[in-house]
């Protein structure tokens, strides 16, 4: 523990903390609408749709196959995995690797994404740094180590100041991530203002329509299906049913009266 408790001027609260919250929020809402305006319809390929549905089908077979009779399950598994004529073995899709630099549609998408999300963040972050620098804005409720000081206390060169006291720029970044749930509340799910989700998808790099490699996906589905065994869930269903009593009490009374009248 270090440092005495600082008492901040209440006008900081009025003129710095609240304005930053509002600015972040309204810029987010604005970004959402701009994204909707310049977003263009994604053209889906019939082949891709069909492939993704087939993969889904195979996955469901793996998960719920135990409700089907043994023969039906075997028939379907055979359809997919048969060494000569099985779907996953036979169908090889021609894959044109989509190079992000040359593929025009992906390029424009990326550019638009950058424009609407990263650019405002940089601009506003910089402006806040310039406008609201030189003083401490708020204190985070948990203690931080000294390594965080240069990151969170830009513009405040005080060696003895506790690392918990942060500047307005870090308050801005806190807001960007914190207001995510507010956006979900007001704009509904899947909104364009949700930056962190976009950053996440950029990091994992997974394209949406699974176009990169259906062949790989097929191969992994094939392996997964090979090892699945059929354990019939209905083996003892009658025994279980007969042991218990179908509880009809209270279920029928009102219904019959309604239907007769």
């Amino acid at each position: 523990m270090a440092g005495p408790e600082l008492l901040l001027d209440s006008s900081i609260r009025l003129w710095v903390v609240l304005p930053i919250v509002f600015i972040t929020f309204f810029v987010g809402v604005l970004r959402h609408y701009v994204t909707q305006l310049i977003h263009n319809e994604k053209k889906v390929d019939l082949q891709q749709v069909s492939d993704s549905q087939v993969l889904l089908h195979s996955r469901i077979l793996r998960e719920n196959g135990k409700y089907l009779p043994k023969q039906s399950f075997a028939m379907r598994k055979h359809y997919f995995n048969n060494p000569e004529t099985g779907f996953f073995k036979k169908v090889k899709r021609k894959v044109i690797p989509k190079n992000p630099m040359t593929d025009t549609s992906m390029l424009t998408d990326m550019m638009k994404g950058n424009l609407t999300n990263v650019l405002p963040m940089i601009l506003i972050g910089g402006w806040i740094n310039w406008a609201f620098s030189g003083f401490v804005t708020t204190k985070v409720p948990f203690p931080l180590t000294l390594r965080f000081k240069p990151m969170l206390q830009r513009g405040i060169e005080l060696i003895s100041l506790d690392a918990s006291w942060v500047s307005s720029a870090s308050w801005y970044f806190l807001n960007v991530f914190g207001l995510r749930s507010m956006y979900t509340l007001i704009l509904g799910q899947d909104n364009g203002a949700d930056q962190s989700r976009i950053m996440q998808s950029q990091m994992t790099g997974a394209a949406m329509a699974m176009s990169p490699d259906p062949n790989k996906a097929f191969k992994s589905e094939w392996e997964a299906l090979e090892i699945v065994e059929h354990k019939w869930a209905l083996e003892n269903v009658e025994e279980e049913l007969v042991c218990q009593d179908l509880n009809f009490r209270g279920l029928f009374k009102a219904e019959v009266q309604v239907s007769v009248d």
């Binding site: 077979l61 719920n64 409700y67 209905l234 049913l241 509880n247 009374k253």
Partner: protein
């Protein structure tokens, strides 16, 4: 003239019917027509989807005037939309102008080959014209590409049942059961198809799936009757071993007792209770399958 609160109630009712896929077309037409004529301005953006809902209901009730006016409004607002084009095609179908409807759907598909709605409408045209074998063929092709479309699987199973091709109908129902393992109705329909197919193995499967349907929903009377029938059928067959016979008679007896209990409970407090219970017992006796 309705007050605002009544209007809101009507709007919510329409929404509920829309979301739960009710097909009470006459009610929708009544409620919707009034809502659209009196309160169009207060509905806001909801109005377009209400137009669509009312239009489909109007086609069901052969109210072509109402359907035409709804279509005009939608065309004015969304001039290039495939969804509106599909509605125009549906109206042509309702007027039995199948050639024109087909041409319209083909143009939609040329524009957008992945549009499932247009393809399904084309198949329903074939069905309306009574060409069930062609409809089956088209539906099979459709399902090859869109394996996950459950409506289509169900439609195909119905078509196969009409053609008495029970094996293929069972296949379709298996698909549905696989994707919706908790839906007792699919289990029960599958069991019925298996029972109709006949043969000892199929009867056993039918019994198992009736039991599964009951497990999923213990109010399913049809499954209970099915269980009773399939169990007694197996028990009466000459080729089974004694143990299987005994088991099945146990199941059959249990099912019969549950049925009578259910009818007793249902008739509680009504005067005709005693006669209906007796009727049920007699019915159960007459349904016994004997070897003769």
């Amino acid at each position: 003239m309705l007050s605002v609160s009544e209007m809101l109630k009507m709007r919510d009712k329409l929404r509920k019917w829309r979301e739960e896929n009710y097909r009470n077309s006459e009610q929708i037409v009544d409620v919707g027509e009034e809502l659209l004529n009196e309160h169009a301005s207060k509905l806001g953006d909801d109005i377009w989807i209400i137009y669509e809902q009312v239009m489909i209901a109007a086609l069901d009730c052969s109210r072509d005037d109402l359907a035409w006016s709804c279509l005009q409004e939608l065309k004015r607002q969304f001039p290039d939309s495939h969804r509106v084009k599909r509605l125009a095609g549906m109206r042509l179908e309702a007027l039995e102008r199948y050639e024109d409807a087909n041409k319209l759907y083909d143009s939609i598909l040329q524009d957008d080959p992945t549009n499932t709605a247009a393809r399904k409408r084309k198949i329903s045209i074939l069905r309306a014209q009574g060409k069930s074998s062609e409809a089956i063929r088209e539906l099979n092709e459709y399902l090859e590409q869109f394996v996950g479309d459950q409506e289509a699987w169900h439609e195909l199973s119905e078509l196969y049942i009409n053609e008495h091709d029970y094996a293929k109908a069972a296949f379709c129902l298996e698909e549905l059961m696989m994707t919706n393992p908790h839906n007792h109705l699919y289990c029960e329909q599958y069991a019925e198809v298996k029972y109709t197919q006949g043969g000892l193995e199929n009867l056993e499967l039918a019994r198992k799936y009736f039991a599964q349907a009951l497990k999923l929903n213990n109010r399913n009377m049809r499954a209970l009757f099915g269980l009773y029938m399939s169990a007694s059928h197996i028990a009466a067959s000459p080729k089974v071993s004694a143990k299987v016979k005994k088991d099945n008679m146990k199941y059959g007896a249990w099912a019969a007792s549950q049925i009578s209990r259910a009818y007793q409970m249902a008739g509680r407090g009504k005067k005709e209770n005693k006669c209906s219970v007796k009727a049920v017992e007699e019915m159960l006796e007459s349904m016994q399958i004997t070897m003769s």
